[in-house]
């Protein structure tokens, strides 16, 4: 895969950098764009971001390893992030995590062999009134139960 990003992403990155008095401040928005396009932040992407922001690659890695949403490993097409915090837990999240694990054949933290799904447990998503909740890529799903999960997985498969 080419270490470079698409021209339209390059354009967006330029616009983002222009918003801040210091280039380094654009690191999170830029990494989000790069991760969206490349799937994850490997060494190549670290060096690319470092070059774009005129900082050392070590500073990029410091940031990538700090934030939970940034990944140094390839993520599946659908990143299923189930909340395992207090409210969701008492509303049955743990059982749903086991159920998803069973259905997808992977444990939390793993990616399926066909690269379609990554399953993760995360902290509070800010959707407690719909507990138990989960996020798939950018979409929130709440009031989950086994039936709903089956439905969502079916929709994703299509």
């Amino acid at each position: 895969m080419s270490p470079e990003v698409t021209k339209s992403t390059q354009k967006k990155i330029k616009e983002l950098i222009a918003r801040y008095p210091k280039k380094q401040a654009a690191i999170l928005p830029v990494i989000h764009l790069v991760q969206r396009e490349k799937g994850y932040i490997s060494d190549e992407e670290e060096k690319l971001v470092a070059e774009l922001l005129e900082i050392k690659p070590i500073k990029v890695r410091e940031v990538v390893t700090f934030y939970s949403m940034l990944s140094q490993k390839p993520l599946g097409k659908y990143h299923i992030q189930v909340c395992s915090n207090l409210t969701c837990s008492i509303m049955g999240a743990e059982k749903l995590i086991d159920y998803l694990s069973e259905k997808l054949g992977i444990k939390p933290g793993e990616t399926s062999e066909d690269g379609k799904y990554t399953l993760s447990t995360v902290e509070c998503l800010g959707a407690c009134e719909q507990a138990p909740s989960m996020m798939v890529n950018t979409d929130y799903y709440g009031h989950l139960d086994k039936k709903k999960i089956d439905k969502i997985l079916k929709e994703l498969d299509e």
Binding site: A25, I55, S84, L86, E123, G126
Partner: protein
């Protein structure tokens, strides 16, 4: 029925579109403020309204704005804290997705008051769809002249940018937010100096929560006196309480500050789900010490909850019933804080992890005599000793749970775990 201020019109479809917002009177207040009032007038009104921060700390907004030096040769900044990471909290999500323009109007008025020309909305990374909605709203506002250059032809410039976080609760702490915005790890800074003097990019910065700023247009519309009257206690205004857990109707409830917690749970949120018995309530987000059923007859305002050794925090109410094992509550609390600790200072980095390891061991049936006393000792060694309030936010709830549910936890030590 008490008047709805912030959540008024929430049921309207497309309120997030500027045309709909304007039809409901949107941006008229901004126009009035920019054209007829001076920045000092705004500050006076906000101070008189006793508007406390709605993020969790509860610091009076007007006082905070007053700390920013007036004449300074550096640019000033506003950071909108939309990181909403406190477990149990989801109110800002509603505001930003249902009525983003109300927030934007509040932002512009605030920046006019303090003399700020660049504002960043630091929104948690998980709220990606909402961030896009905000960006759209900002473009709409700029098009109509309510943001950007020469707002309403009054010569006031303000650029508003959306800046997405990437999954770190600690970035909800104001100085960690600044560090994150500057492109670094979200490590909180030593205070002093305070952000009002040295903040973003070493310049004076105001940091306010989404709900706090959303109140500004309403204060400027109907005045400080009206705002104060909206609350039942000394503090002014309404709060958007979020109720979740074992209740029939979890969701947001905008009610006057000072509304009784009991009333919130049993009258508004429908009472206990499946009519189970109430075991405990967390009144203000996970960082607030837990309350037992005999303690919930209490006004939901800063003073009253502080007197009860708890806190109003983000107004996020989590209701626990008799089926919830307390060891699970403790496990989730410690899991959260040890995962979210930035790792900078010794007590929080190691204390949270140590307590979580102990609680997990107890959870799986390998508890030992002395574990609970040790947990209390460790949590006490974190209290007041850390670089930022996350240490306290972890220690206080842990101490409260261990103290108030000691018997149940001791039974866990003897039990066989799970």
């Amino acid at each position: 029925m008490p008047e709805k201020v912030l959540t008024k019109n929430f049921d309207m479809e497309h309120l997030f579109k500027i045309d709909v917002y304007m039809k409901k009177g949107g941006y008229k207040i901004l126009s009035n403020v920019l054209k007829k009032l001076k920045p000092e007038d705004v500050l006076k009104e906000v101070k008189a309204a006793h508007l406390r921060g709605r993020g969790g700390a509860g610091f009076p907004a007007g006082v905070k704005w007053g700390f920013v030096p007036k004449e300074v040769d550096k640019p000033k900044y506003l950071c909108v804290n939309a990181d909403e990471g406190e477990p149990g909290t989801f109110k800002d999500r509603y505001i930003m997705s249902h009525n983003p323009h109300m927030l934007l109007e509040g932002i512009v008025i605030t920046c006019y008051c303090v003399g700020i020309h660049t504002a960043f909305i630091y929104i948690r990374g998980e709220y990606e769809n909402i961030a896009q909605r905000l960006e759209k709203a900002i473009s709409e506002a700029e098009e109509k002249g309510f943001a950007g250059k020469n707002i309403l032809k009054t010569g006031f410039d303000l650029n508003i940018y959306v800046h997405r976080g990437a999954g770190a609760y600690i970035c909800g702490e104001e100085t960690a937010l600044l560090e994150s915005l500057e492109g670094k790890r979200g490590n909180p800074r030593l205070k002093p100096p305070f952000p009002a003097a040295i903040g973003l990019f070493q310049s004076p910065t105001v940091i306010n929560n989404v709900e706090t700023l959303s109140n500004i247009p309403h204060i400027m519309n109907k005045g400080a006196d009206w705002f104060v009257k909206q609350g039942i206690s000394e503090d002014g205004g309404t709060r958007i309480f979020g109720v979740s857990g074992k209740v029939k109707k979890p969701g947001i409830y905008e009610l006057p500050i000072g509304t009784s917690l009991k009333e919130l749970i049993f009258n508004h949120a429908g009472g206990m789900k499946s009519n189970k018995k109430l075991k405990a309530v967390i009144p203000g987000g996970m960082s607030s010490p837990i309350l037992k059923p005999d303690e919930i007859d209490i006004p939901m305002d800063c003073e009253s909850l502080m007197k009860a050794d708890s806190m109003l925090g983000s107004g996020a109410v989590i209701v626990l019933d008799e089926d919830v094992p307390i060891i699970e509550v403790l496990r989730k609390i410690t899991q959260f804080y040890s995962h979210e600790s930035c790792g900078q200072c010794t007590p929080c980095r190691i204390g949270n992890s140590w307590i979580h390891k102990t609680v997990t061991r107890i959870y799986y049936g390998r508890g030992k005599k002395g574990d609970l006393d040790n947990i209390e000792k460790l949590a006490s060694n974190m209290l007041g000793r850390t670089l930022c309030p996350l240490g306290d936010a972890a220690a206080m709830p842990i101490l409260a749970v261990v103290k108030k549910f000691r018997k149940e936890l001791e039974a866990e030590l003897k039990g066989s775990g799970r």
